[in-house]
């Protein structure tokens, strides 16, 4: 693979990861949000795969396969099942409306660029110059966690955060050892399972998964 082709494909995959984060903020349908997250997972796997091929690093390619299975197949299925089991298919009224959250996310992206300038300057190159995007995705994940009400969108925010951190890890260090990657993947999977159980319990108890209704103590 030639250097220019590698840079171009890497930029495309990284760009896709960021755009998917914005799509999560933009769409209201929970199904569409999960699909955006799936695409983001695949793009993240593509980033790892590209880096692995470019640096001839077999462990990274293994990590790419792991990310693809976990974030492209398993987690979306779990999320889609949660949505299917509930009657709620839309994020009705986020605390911050869609237009404002899109603009806020644009601001967060700028913040990510501004804060990571010194990090990028340490070792300029195609991989490091994409690091701000990972930070931006993590910040957008925080934003989703803070402003969305439904349990599913909360899980999505958590996964966005994880994707952002994973992207930074791949780009900055050419991947952590496979065993660490495996551990992190298991942690994420476990967290999502726990959240799924929690969501199911919430629905059984209250009928809805709107986190706003969990503010008061009940008998």
């Amino acid at each position: 693979m030639s250097e220019t082709l590698f840079v171009q494909l890497l930029d495309l995959a990284v760009g896709l990861v960021l755009v998917c984060a914005f799509v999560v903020l933009w769409r209201r349908g929970l199904g569409a949000i999960v699909h955006a997250l799936t695409v983001q997972g695949v793009a993240l796997a593509a980033v790892a795969f590209l880096l692995g091929v470019h640096e001839e690093h077999a462990e990274l390619i293994g990590a790419a396969a792991l990310v693809l299975v976990l974030k492209g197949v398993v987690l979306p299925r779990v999320l889609l099942r949660i949505i299917r089991d509930s009657d709620e298919t839309r994020e009705v009224e986020p605390f911050v409306n869609v237009t404002a959250s899109l603009l806020a996310a644009a601001g967060l992206t700028l913040l990510a660029y501004a804060t990571s300038r010194d990090v990028v300057a340490l070792d300029p190159g195609p991989e490091t110059s994409a690091i701000p995007i990972g930070i931006a995705v993590a910040l957008i994940g925080f934003f989703v966690l803070a402003t969305r009400r439904k349990a599913v969108t909360q899980i999505v925010g958590f996964l966005l955060l994880d994707n952002g951190i994973a992207l930074v890890a791949f780009l900055a260090t050419a991947g952590v050892p496979l065993i660490v990657e495996l551990g992190v993947a298991l942690d994420v999977l476990l967290a999502v399972f726990i959240l799924q159980v929690l969501t199911t319990r919430m629905r059984a108890k209250f009928g809805v998964t709107d986190l706003n209704q969990l503010r008061e103590l009940r008998d």
Binding site: T4, D11, V14, G15, V19, F22, L102, A106, P132
Partner: protein, 315 residues
């Protein structure tokens, strides 16, 4: 500024004026066919314009000079815009003023005058249409500016011909994230600015939803013909901008007559393909609620914004 260059600029303006109603006719026909109707012939928009031209001019009693002036300003800005955008050649005589900012404000001038003309007679629908149009324009115009600005960062100039030439020289930039983001942003804005679905429905006069039609409700006769022609030309300007900025191949790099002829064929084909794609897309989407339109446009603004940040930081 050479004579040949000026001649090329005149040629491309004439071409757009002649072709624009046919493009609209083609889009209506494609949509009708996909919906199972026979569809009007491609010449129908031209026939409408001819019919309107022969009719009497009726001006509302409450209208002022703005109402009379607006169609002329609209057509004039559309003509200048067609001269600026590199449709046929990158060496047109109007190259020096073929600037991104000139284009955007030229188009905005027409929009503002049309909105004023909608307000002028003092009817309820006109005012409503103008207010809606301004709501959309307020977000759409900066998006065009920022989206094309993302391309001009790569080209190192805000001159439209320079951007096209730079893309011709470096074909690989077409597949870069900033170009794709800018394309997506500009495509959404094109739909909004030319009053297509899902922002405005060009084929209804339903008072609750219309935007463009509401503003021109009071026009009749030759004035209406001018407004319609200008609207068709603006559509072609946007389609030409989309096709030549992102897929510039086929455009002439000299002012040789034969090359210009080939470029005319290429640009007509590209615009026809884009028109068919948009018409097909319109069959499958519903109009979004008016309150959701700013959401859609904010999304396209964010895409354009990301395109600029990407072209600064990823490159």
């Amino acid at each position: 500024m050479s004579v040949a260059g000026l001649a090329a600029a005149v040629c491309q303006t004439a071409l757009v004026v002649v072709v624009a109603p046919f493009v609209v006719g083609l889009m209506r026909w494609v949509r009708a066919r996909l919906e199972g109707r026979a569809g009007p012939p491609l010449t129908q928009p031209w026939r409408d314009i001819r019919k309107q031209m022969a009719k009497e001019r009726i001006v509302p009693a409450t209208a002022s000079w703005v109402f009379t002036l607006a169609p002329l300003v609209l057509v004039a800005t559309a003509v200048v815009a067609t001269g600026i955008v590199p449709f046929l050649t990158t060496r047109s005589g109007l190259d020096e003023i073929g600037d991104l900012f000139a284009l955007v404000y030229m188009l905005l001038l027409g929009t503002v005058f049309l909105a004023l003309a909608g307000l002028d007679p003092g009817t309820a629908f006109g005012g409503m249409g103008s207010s809606r149009e301004m709501t959309i324009a307020a977000v759409a115009e900066p998006t065009i500016l920022v989206a094309i600005f993302a391309l001009s960062v790569t080209a190192g100039s805000s001159n439209l011909s320079a951007i096209v030439t730079s893309t011709l020289d470096h074909p690989s930039t077409v597949a870069s994230p900033e170009t794709m983001l800018a394309f997506a942003a500009l495509a959404v804005v094109t739909l909004a600015e030319t009053g297509r679905l899902p922002v405005d429905n060009p084929s209804t006069h339903l008072e609750l939803t219309m935007i463009h039609e509401a503003m021109i409700l009071e026009y009749s006769g030759p004035d209406l013909a001018l407004v319609e022609l200008a609207a068709h030309m603006r559509l072609v300007v946007f389609l030409g901008l989309l096709s030549n900025l992102f897929v510039p191949w086929g455009i002439a790099t000299t002012t040789h007559p034969l090359e210009l002829l080939a470029a005319a064929g290429a640009v007509c084909a590209k615009i026809a393909v884009l028109g068919i794609v948009i018409a097909t897309f319109e069959v499958f989407v519903a109009k979004v609620r008016l309150f959701r339109v700013p959401e859609l446009l904010a999304a396209s603004f964010v895409l354009a914004f990301l395109a600029v940040t990407a072209s600064f930081y990823l490159a």
